[in-house]
Symmetry: C2
Subunit: 146 residues, 2 copies
DNA sequence: GGACTGTTTTAGATCTGGTCTAAATCCAAT
DNA sequence: ATTGGATTTAGACCAGATCTAAAACAGTCC
């Protein structure tokens, strides 16, 4: 279901040049946050990331994590999403256009490859509207695992 | 685009019986909140509603507005949605399954009739997953009005 | 090197949306 | 009128996120 081939996650070593390529000066803090955020597929809150980054020893201040995350969002390195209900903000290390499945019981959030843009074609839009993004969350309940 | 015929919004006078039909005791406060929330198509935050209800004179406490809204959500009288980015929680007076268009420039949120459930069929789901809800937001920019 | 400049980070204060609590009020049934 | 359960209230509280002003850091020029 999830097609990892559509995105290659960088290794820790690749992070500094990756940031530089995006015009982001790779400070120690930014590199640490990026390594924790970008190197695997995941959906985390800013606070989870803050704790992960500082797990072993204090490394990066809270404000820096928040700032850095929005720098990454602007640079297109991570995407943002929130649960349709609830309002918790998650950061997603996958930026290609994809949909999400939300398991209502476990609260788990999964990526699904789906051409959400072509799905959106089936929605009647105003003539002058240019689509800039499509967010699709399918909420499910597992019949067996319930 | 928006098809008002798919939902009839109640009049102020109909609110008490509407609540009673749903098993909600129609207190003065609940009726006030319902009148402000349910009688027309809209997307509002809890706080906007709180202020609207108390615009002329203090009428309902903040906590009551929040409690009442979640009672209405549980009863299926209103639906909840959050902006994929941002995390602001909106309450929607339309409960039939529909999609949303979000104008990135104006911040305006509009209903669109679309069979989101059948759209979700095109997404590859786990075998044992039963769809309980589909949230679709198409973000747009207006070419002319920009 | 050392002084200067702009950028980044920091700790902690602050803001904000939302929930909790314990007391007061309401309402229906006796 | 009194009782008892449901509802509402004001204000305290909480968590996530942002703001602030000071300190640390790079890079440049002498």
């Amino acid at each position: 279901m999830v097609d990892e081939t559509t995105k290659n996650f960088p290794t820790n070593k690749e992070i500094p040049s990756l940031l530089r390529n995006r015009g982001i000066f790779p400070t120690r803090q930014r590199v640490r946050v990026a390594q924790e955020m970008l190197c695997r597929p995941q959906h985390v809150t800013a606070d989870q990331l803050f704790m992960a980054v500082n797990a072993k020893h204090p490394a990066v201040a809270r404000a820096t994590v928040y700032n850095t995350l929005s720098i990454f969002v602007n640079a297109g390195l991570v995407s943002v999403l929130t649960m349709p209900d609830g309002g918790t903000v998650y950061y997603d290390s996958s930026v290609h256009h994809h949909a999400h499945i939300f398991d209502e019981e476990s609260g788990e959030l999964m990526d699904v490859d789906a051409d959400v843009f072509s799905l959106a074609q089936h929605v009647a839009l105003p003539d002058d509207a240019e689509v800039t993004g499509v967010d699709l969350v399918v909420r499910v309940r597992r019949k067996t695992t319930g």
